[in-house]
């Protein structure tokens, strides 16, 4: 269920998600948070099993904190995505998979990034990306609307309309849109 969207622009990244949690054919919650900030410059959009995804996000937060305390500077977006993917991968190999599809997005010293990690632990870097049951519909909007030179505000509007389109036709998505905008230049440099 769910629709999440991540878009990379030249001056930042945007994440968007609907707010519905499904229990089979029942709407379990209408106010679910599917966007999680790992810090001021990195965030994750979750789709799939809520419990798996939330656990994974908390574990990633703890591991990121420990590493950045040890070495004195925070993780890049790629390092964060790889960290999460490695946890998911070891779950899959141990026959205890995490049923998740995550979008890891953020800004770091090298600019804006959108990565996606599925339940096999594979990581790919994308310009834009959608996951969840509404993603085929969201992709229709994204493929039409995305331009390589899109600005942050354009990306924000495109992300919102992609999720709204999915909410119109996908019964697993609905009840409003959450949007998270991470502009360039907000990457923390220290650990304090």
């Amino acid at each position: 269920m769910t629709t999440t969207v991540g878009i990379r622009s030249k001056d930042g990244v945007v994440l968007a998600a609907d707010k519905r949690a499904s229990k089979g054919f029942f709407v379990g919650s209408k106010v679910v948070q599917k966007l999680f900030a790992l810090d001021r410059a990195t965030a994750v959009a979750i789709a799939g099993q809520m419990s798996d995804a939330e656990y994974l996000v908390n574990l990633a937060k703890a591991e990121r904190r420990l590493l950045s305390l040890r070495r004195g500077y925070p993780l890049s977006v790629r390092e964060s995505a790889r960290l999460i993917a490695n946890i998911v991968y070891s779950g899959m190999k141990a026959y205890n998979p995490f049923f998740v599809e995550l979008v890891v997005a953020g800004v770091d010293r090298d600019g804006a990034h959108v990565y996606t990690s599925d339940m096999s632990g594979a990581v790919t870097s994308e310009d834009f990306m959608s996951s969840g049951s509404g993603s085929p519909i969201a992709y229709g909007v994204l493929e039409q609307g995305y331009r390589a030179d899109i600005d942050l505000d354009g990306a924000r509007r495109l992300a919102e309309s992609a999720v709204r389109a999915a909410m119109e036709r996908d019964p697993g998505s609905g009840n409003g849109v959450d949007i998270l905008v991470l502009p360039n230049g907000h990457a923390p440099t220290g650990v304090n």
Partner: protein, 222 residues
């Protein structure tokens, strides 16, 4: 027979002392002078960074454990940093399990248990004392934990070289209504007067209003 037992270094000697633990405390008292101060509004950690050789960056002496807790130590730096690593791990584990920042009692208890375990077996007790400064539901807290595993809670601590003189100086200058600037000055003067003003001092501060521990590193790295 009794005399023989006393000669096994990791058991009690005939005076009832654990000599290995005494030696560990002695190792701490050779470390750099390190103090902690606390009022109800803040806690300050300050540690002397020993004068280094040219071309050598001074070592880190104040450690961030989590958002709301900091630590410093004296003794063998390798032992101190191992303990700090474990404190950081305990803090993050607590967040994972309870979705809440760790409290000072749980954190210091974990440290005590770890140090105490090394007094029970034929191993080397760690030569490090740790001062923890942090904030939790019970307010700002300052704790010292020694190689024996003993934990002290209080408003002023000093460990390392000249700790007795330093503690005396803190006792003379301490008032419960100290401002943060006063406390930083008192810590500086204490460390400088106890060892002849050699080296630099690194600070860490936790405040009740921000509920955050902040390290104040030396200007030239560290």
């Amino acid at each position: 027979m009794a005399a023989d037992v006393g000669r096994i270094p990791f058991f009690y000697n005939t005076e009832g002392r654990l000599v290995q633990v005494d030696y560990a405390m002695q190792a701490v008292s050779r470390g750099s002078t390190t103090v902690g101060l606390k009022t109800k509004d803040f806690a300050v950690l300050a540690s002397q960074v020993k004068p280094t050789r040219p071309l050598l960056e001074p070592a880190e002496k104040i450690y961030v454990v989590d958002d709301h807790v900091g630590a410093t130590g004296s003794g063998y730096i390798g032992d101190v940093s191992t303990l700090v690593d474990d404190l950081r791990l305990a803090a993050q584990r607590h967040r994972l399990v309870y979705d809440n920042p760790i409290d000072m009692a749980t954190l210091s208890r974990q440290l005590s248990e770890q140090l105490h375990a090394l007094t029970m077996y034929a191993v080397r007790p760690l030569g490090a004392s740790i001062i923890l400064a942090g904030i939790d539901e019970l307010g700002v807290q300052l704790l010292q934990v020694d190689p024996s595993g003993t934990a002290f809670r209080g408003a002023g601590f000093a460990i390392g070289q000249h700790a007795d003189e330093a503690l005396e100086a803190i006792g003379r200058g301490y008032r419960p209504d100290l401002t943060l600037d006063d406390a930083l000055r008192l810590a500086t003067e204490t460390i400088e007067s106890s060892n002849g003003g050699k080296g630099q001092i690194e600070f860490g501060v936790v405040q009740a209003d921000t509920r955050r521990f902040e390290r104040r590193p030396l200007e030239n790295g560290g």
